[in-house]
């Protein structure tokens, strides 16, 4: 692609003139799309490792302090967690449909699906925020005012070490907090994508940003799919 050879223009024009979305250093759109998609996959690899550190800590302490982890887990709101899981699964569906709509070139459908995704994302954060607030009110947030005495009220025979319970809530807040941070970033990305879609930037030939933003969104969903059983369902078997 000697695209500028001999045109006499400034060598620093950064785009191909006929294809504004094709950046100067790629030979064609296929190469550009493959690069972007591979980049996102590798980035998700780093994200797995990022969460992996905390999952590793979770594994170690859950094995060491199981009664405290089980009691902490039972105190979380099962309803809120389940609803949030459903909300996120819905948002994954709308993302998948949005990618499909962009491939078919249906602009209005694309914009509404992207808006729906962001709506589900905001719902998730709202419910999560409500849960955090509730736990903060009960002094379950791992601050200087942490107090988990209420966890033994129903069962006076249960002896819980408050420090170990605090480690459960530390990991709970760290994991869900970092996950929520990823949701907020995702909603930010989707606002930009939605704006671009509304302006008609995407065509059936060019919709890479939707695909790679979708990959990111699915990843954040999958993290929650692991967080939900690990945090909420430790000791919820029927009859427990």
């Amino acid at each position: 692609m000697s695209d500028r050879a001999g045109t006499g223009e400034s060598p620093l024009v950064l785009e191909h003139e006929d294809r504004p979305e094709l950046r100067h250093h790629f030979a064609d759109v296929v190469q550009q799309r493959n690069a972007a998609s591979l980049g996102m996959w590798w980035f998700l690899g780093t994200e797995i490792m990022f969460f992996g550190g905390m999952f590793c800590g979770y594994l170690v302490y859950r094995r060491a302090y199981f009664p405290e982890f089980a009691a902490g887990s039972r105190s979380l709101s099962l309803v809120a967690g389940t609803v949030n899981t459903a909300v996120l699964i819905c948002s994954s569906l709308t993302v998948a449909l949005a990618v499909r709509a962009s491939q078919l070139g249906k602009r209005k459908l694309l914009v509404s699906l992207l808006l729906a995704t962001m709506f589900f994302g905001v719902c998730f954060l709202g419910i999560k925020g409500y849960e955090w607030h509730d736990e903060y009110e009960h002094h379950h947030a791992p601050t200087f005012y942490f107090n988990a005495q209420d966890l033994v009220h129903n069962n006076p025979n249960l002896h819980l070490d408050p420090q170990r319970t605090k480690i459960f809530f530390s990991l709970y807040f760290a994991l869900t907090g970092v996950h929520a941070l990823h949701m907020i970033v995702g909603i930010g990305i989707f606002s930009v994508i939605t704006f671009m879609a509304w302006r008609g930037k995407f065509t059936p030939e060019y919709h890479t940003p939707i695909e790679i933003a979708g990959l990111y969104w699915h990843f954040v969903d999958i993290v929650w799919i692991y967080l939900f059983p690990l945090l909420y369902l430790i000791d919820r078997r029927p009859g427990a």
């Binding site: 692609m1 000697s2 500028r4 050879a5 060598p11 620093l12 950064l14 950046r23 100067h24 250093h25 030979a27 190469q31 493959n34 690069a35 591979l38 980049g39 590798w42 980035f43 690899g45 780093t46 994200e47 490792m49 990022f50 969460f51 992996g52 550190g53 905390m54 590793c56 800590g57 170690v60 302490y61 060491a64 302090y65 791992p142 601050t143 200087f144 070490d161 420090q163 170990r164 605090k166 480690i167 530390s170 990991l171 760290a174 970092v178």
Partner: protein, 544 residues
């Protein structure tokens, strides 16, 4: 002179645009490489200043220059700056950034704007660290061991931890860019088996950056949260486990050693065939050994923790795996040596650094095996033996490779030749100064001098005086290239496109290259390192 005049007027990446904006908003990988060069050189001298303080304090057995607290800060900030702000970005972000697109025949890295973003992240983290430094610094040791860092230290741990958390993302983005570029941006005909070994090594480095750095990011974030919110995850008095911190820390920080040494090996793999005029011996094995070092390097971290209370059986396994990682490292050393065998070797500046690298890395690597041996490690753990070992790898290895690479590609980067005689002199001074600094530390460490103390028994003084003398010589060796490389920018002879008659696509374009590297995308029809087809370099060029 007529041709020279034409050469200077030719458009290249340096004179394509002028002004501060054209540099700060550039997406050209070559300009970003120079931005990195300036910023890491700055941090190299800041880190070097703390090294100077340490060596001056240790000149006498008594703690007379600094208080113990100040000494703790000096070695902590020396370590953190040198590791996170110099060594890890050094060769990848400067030489890798500059060369990888050219070596594979691409116009730029896959994500030029992300490349610029990574530099801004580096600068932001650097400024935060400088703020931490200016407001009183940090004294945890570069390792941030808990519970000291999370509970007891009353220095600026949060700022330092956040700075290193942030700078990690710069490293992740650089690695991401390299991996995608190597996969997707190769010119027609540039198959994996034709890639220069420089690219192979950087590919392996990038994988470590991508998979290791997030772990230290989350670990330091947890330490910061632990301090700020009083969490207790790593605090034994509250049920936390400080050994878990050490596991998570070394899971990144041992592979980080390979982030530092693999790019240096990348440089040596280019220099040795060029100045031996021979095809590299065992290309496939050298390429595969880079990947093997990256892979096995992830499985050896707990050899830093043999005395931290891990079980004997896991210690045995990690000891064994640490011996395993010596195999691919040795493959490289043997193959470089075999490449030189019966080659027509010239003792040019880059080659002198390569010789230095091979010798010093061999010592550093083999003493690493002493430390991977369980019994010996108990004896020399936390002594100057360890200090000498990792400085042989990181300074004798990584920095020698970095300087060799800077000299080797200086004609390409700047379009000027450096003064060869001064270059050789500096290389010899660095080699001698380095050995005088660190060899005595092996002895004094074996005799039992612990690291991280500002006082020591008088019988160790002679070794410390030798070491401080060596450090002064080493400082001269580092300042010399600063001076004559800057001098050469104005007064150096104009560099031809391929002064060393080296193979590799970066030498097939002009010096300095145009903004998009090649007038036309090259088509590769030859193997890497076909030195038998290349003419000998012009001796006059080399002698200058």
């Amino acid at each position: 002179m007529a041709t020279a005049a034409v050469t200077t007027e030719r458009k290249n990446y340096l004179n394509a645009e002028y002004g501060i904006r054209s540099w700060l908003l550039t997406t050209d990988h070559k300009r970003i490489a120079l931005l990195y060069l300036l910023s890491i050189t700055f941090f190299f001298f800041v880190g070097g200043f703390f090294a100077l303080l340490i060596r001056l304090e240790l000149l006498t057995p008594a703690g007379d220059l600094m208080t113990a607290d100040m000494y703790n800060k000096a070695f902590t900030m020396h370590g953190q700056i040198m590791v996170f702000f110099f060594l890890i970005p050094s060769i990848p972000a400067v030489l890798g950034n500059f060369l990888i697109p050219m070596m594979i025949g691409a116009k730029d890295l896959a994500f030029p704007r992300i490349n610029l973003l990574s530099w801004y992240i580096y600068v932001a983290a650097g400024l935060l660290y400088l703020y931490c430094l200016a407001t009183g610094g940090v004294d945890t040791g570069w390792t941030f061991y808990t519970p000291y860092s999370s509970l007891f230290s009353n220095t600026h741990v949060v700022e330092a931890g956040l700075a290193i958390f942030i700078v990690g993302f710069s490293s992740i983005l650089t690695g991401l860019n390299f991996v995608v570029t190597v996969h997707r941006m190769r010119a027609p005909g540039m198959t994996w088996s034709r890639l220069p070994l420089f690219v192979w090594s950087h590919y392996a480095t990038s994988i470590i950056m991508l998979l290791g750095t997030p772990i230290i990011a989350i670990t330091l974030l947890l330490v910061v949260l632990e301090r700020a919110l009083n969490l207790g995850i790593f605090d034994p008095s509250r049920g936390g486990d400080p050994v878990l911190f050490q596991h998570l820390f070394w899971f990144y920080s041992h592979p980080a050693v390979y982030i530092m040494i693999l790019p240096s090996m990348a440089v040596i793999s280019e220099i040795v065939p060029c100045f031996s005029r021979k095809r590299v011996f065992g290309y496939t094995f050298v390429a595969a050994s880079s990947i093997a070092i990256a892979a096995i390097g992830f499985l050896v971290w707990a050899h830093h923790m043999f005395v931290a209370g891990i079980s004997l059986y896991s210690a045995l396994v990690f000891s064994f795996l640490s011996f395993m990682v010596a195999i691919p490292s040795a493959v490289k050393v043997f193959n470089w040596t075999a490449t030189m065998y019966k080659g027509s070797i010239s003792f040019s500046t880059p080659m002198l650094y390569a010789f230095g690298f091979i010798g010093l890395f061999t010592i550093g690597g083999l003493t690493g095996l002493f430390l991977a041996t369980l019994g010996v490690d108990v004896h020399v753990h936390d002594t100057y033996f360890v200090i000498a070992h990792f400085h042989y790898v990181m300074v004798g290895g990584a920095v020698m490779g970095y300087l060799g690479g800077i000299h080797f590609w200086w004609p390409k980067i700047s379009g000027r030749m450096y003064p060869e005689a001064w270059g050789r002199l500096a290389a010899v001074i660095v080699f001698l100064g380095f050995n005088l600094t660190f060899f005595p530390q092996f002895i004094v460490g074996y005799l039992g001098m612990p690291r991280r103390y500002w006082q020591y028994p008088p019988e160790f003084q002679v070794y410390n005086v030798l070491s401080t003398a060596g450090a002064s010589i080493l400082a001269v060796g580092y300042l010399l290239p600063m001076v004559y490389l800057l001098w050469s920018l104005r007064y150096g002879k104009l560099a031809p496109d391929n002064p060393w008659q080296a193979t590799g696509l970066e030498w097939k374009t002009t010096s300095p290259p145009p903004t998009f590297n090649f007038e036309e995308t090259p088509v590769v029809t030859w193997e890497a390192y076909e030195y038998e087809t290349m003419p000998m370099p012009d001796e006059v060029t080399l002698e200058r």
